[in-house]
């Protein structure tokens, strides 16, 4: 029983991490209709920035996390303004091609700069080991992930639902023409959203280096997970991807523990079944846009 609870706990931590990693993609893909297969590249970038800061420059881990966010967001805004912005109106095939090319370049460039082996971030002692809560072993690091990611989720949801910026974003997404007619600077809103999404990915990459493993192929390896979170969750809300990420995280951890023989097979099969059953995602709108 306690074993089960530990798995559940690990699954939740994993799922929340996936959500933070993929939430930026949920916005670009779901709200802006831009197929960004390069999302993982920003996550990896954040992870590497954090690793370099902590391991080489001796910056404390908790200071490096916001810096990873900032670095990835900056990279995101530069990439958006110079490259991705031209692709919003292109066909899906061209978006796919472009972002695949971008990932390939990012993977090779990371390999060139950082080497091909896996990178670990030196964690402070506070985060190592387990604490025992009512007989359930709880990893400190995973507990921190749940706390940080939980707060972030609330912040994202709050921003989208309650702030002026959230209202502008939703308006810009629903109908860009009318929104710009109302005086909303649509490209700016998109650029800001894109940068924020990339920043979240970078933060996720930094947090996830310990659990997911960070190497140059990170963007390709976890691409399918990000896409699952967004497509299965449906792209019209942010709660959909959140639920999907939790289900995915728990299913993946439990699957690897109880039926190691099948491995990721369960996840892929489940995704295909869900997409057949509800092509717009579990929590998505049923009408086609």
């Amino acid at each position: 029983m306690t074993n089960f609870l530990t798995i559940l706990f690990d699954g939740v931590a994993y799922g929340m991490l996936l959500f933070v990693l993929a939430s930026g993609l949920a916005v670009t893909l779901g709200l802006m209709n831009f197929v960004n297969l390069a999302h993982g590249a920003f996550a990896a970038f954040g992870g590497y920035v954090c690793a370099v800061l902590v391991n080489r420059s001796g910056v404390p881990f908790f200071v490096a996390l916001p810096l990873a966010f900032a670095a990835a967001a900056l990279a995101g805004v530069v990439a958006e303004r110079t490259l991705f912005r031209h692709l919003y109106r292109r066909s899906e095939l061209e978006q796919v091609l472009f972002t695949i090319g971008f990932v390939f370049m990012a993977v090779a460039a990371t390999d060139y700069v950082m080497g091909s082996s896996q990178v670990f971030i030196n964690l402070p002692d506070v985060l190592q080991g387990q604490i025992d809560l009512f007989g359930v072993g709880i990893g400190r690091y995973r507990l921190m992930i749940i706390v940080i990611c939980g707060l972030l989720t609330l912040a994202i949801q709050g921003t989208l639902a309650r702030t002026r910026f959230g209202a502008r974003l939703r308006a810009a997404v629903d109908d860009p023409r009318v929104a710009s007619g109302l005086g909303i600077n649509v490209p700016q809103v998109f650029a800001f959203t894109f940068a924020f999404g990339c920043g979240l990915a970078g933060l996720g990459g930094a947090l996830g280096a310990e659990i997911l493993g960070l190497d140059p192929y990170f963007p390709l390896k976890f691409l399918i997970y990000f896409l699952i979170v967004v497509t299965v969750g449906g792209s019209s809300t942010i709660t959909g991807p959140f639920m999907a990420a939790l289900v995915l995280g728990i299913a993946d951890v439990a699957g690897k523990y109880y039926v190691p023989k099948l491995g990721a097979f369960v996840i892929y099969a489940l995704m295909i079944v869900i997409l057949i059953w509800r092509p717009h995602g579990l929590f998505g709108r049923t009408v086609a846009r």
Partner: protein, 347 residues
Amino acid sequence: MSDMTTLSPVAASTARIGRWRWQETAFWLLVVASYFLFSDRYLILTEIAWLALFALSLDLILGYAGIVSLGHAAFFGVGAYGVGLLAKHGIIEEPVLALLAAGLMAMALGFVTSFLVIRGTDLSRLMVTLGIALLLRELANRFSDITGGFDGLQGFTIAPVLGLFEFDIFGRTGFVYCTVVLFVLFLAARRLVNSPFGLSLRAIHNNRLRAEAVGIPVDRRLIAVYTVSAFYAGVAGALFTQTTALASLDVFAFERSADLLLILVIGGGGYLYGGLIGAVVFKILQEIFSSITPQYWLFWIGLVFVVIVLVGRERMRRWARVAPDFLLRRLGLSRGVGGGGSRGGEP
């Protein structure tokens, strides 16, 4: 041409489209010539041949029917493992028959999965195709007692083609064999896309709603072409295994499907030769890049993707049409007026 008048309008039109042009003859003569010109490079020519067939298979669904697939390697992999297993367990020894059998296996998978692919939005289509390829890779990895798992399927030999032609170390037999298969299947594809069936695919690609309105059974046509395309991809995979005597997990890899998209984009979709030309260009690029930087050639391939999209495929195609005339004019060999103006109305 006088008997044209007796044909129905559709038959006359397809006959006109399907006429064999001199450029095509020249292309295939070049292929034959490559056998004599590059007699020390049969191995790479063989690779180009099966890659071209693989790209041809994607062209059928992407160039003609407009289905974007991120997981076409699934069928390639089924063909590859299929032929490997048939050879290993001595079920079908003869390569041509094994090739057909492996193609049919991929075709069966294509038929079953086509129902999943034609459903849903474009995005979920990308996901489903990608997911199927990953799923098969995972299966091949897990059932390692059958497939050899991570080490790949090894330790089998491929019998002589038709019982006569032994696969030699220089790859001469392999090259001729692959090229003949490519040519035969190319002819079949050419016949297919120039038939009323092919025309209906183009109609679906251009405007699905309108195609439905004029009475084309859209779903059934898409299922049919997806199934045929899976057969082609399976045969390409089978050729890969037969010429290398190896089937490893990377036949299902995402990179393979992505490279395939690039090949088709380089060559251009929707006229069948795109995949063939793209395969040649891609292999040459890969050779150049990996000779400059063996470890980082992925970067340069990625750059090609990015540049192609940024420049724009339409613009490149326009250049490709205008460039020969431009060069000829520069050399004082003008072909006369209106050489490149046949589609001047394009934006």
